[in-house]
Amino acid sequence: MVRIRDLALSHRLFASTYRWRVIREVPAARLRRPLASCRVALVSSAGLVAPGDEPFDEGVRGGDFSYRLIGSDVDVQTLTEHHRSDAFDHSGIDRDRNLGLPLERLCELERAGHIGSVAPRHVSLMGSITAPGRLVRHTLPRIADDLIADDVDVALMVPV
């Protein structure tokens, strides 16, 4: 389990001094049907992009707050990573994209009957967004609308 003390000095200083957004009134959505009947979508901040889609822009001040929708039929190993952070080892995701977007695993859970279905589209964000205001105001409502349009019951975040 990674602790702040395990990070390189520059990242340790950042993590210790950054003004993290705090969720004051924590929402608790209740499952409306058994998990085995639920449609599940992934929301990943690994910066993964499908072939032909526009890469995330590492040069956006405060972090690129755009998002991509990745179809459930994509070959995950064809996704390219555009995460700008040097705070973590990228080699795991490079070898196995399921570490950033576990789409193959989700399909296996569907076949096993553990979840009802895999959503047709999954959300990809670039992590390391140090100025999240625009993400919260502009991007998240659009993501929510897309997930609602796809009848998603559960959004599973994969933070990278």
Binding site: M1, V22, I23, A29, D96, R105, V154
Partner: protein, 58 residues
């Protein structure tokens, strides 16, 4: 990282015993990755939010 997660207070979070960049565990280890996903999805039953559970390495 648990210290940061406790500050932010997401409703349901799973702390994993892997380095940064390896949120689902080892590359090429479907069983290990599935165990992480099952543990995360199991948190949906918890209504005593915010919840931060830790799982051990299988």
């Amino acid at each position: 990282m648990p210290e940061i997660t406790r500050r932010i207070r997401p409703p349901r979070a799973l702390a994993v015993p892997y380095p940064l960049g390896f949120p689902l565990g080892r590359p090429g280890d479907p069983d290990g990755q599935l165990a992480v996903l099952r543990a995360a999805l199991a948190l949906l039953e918890r209504m005593d939010v915010p919840v931060l559970e830790e799982i051990a390495e299988p």
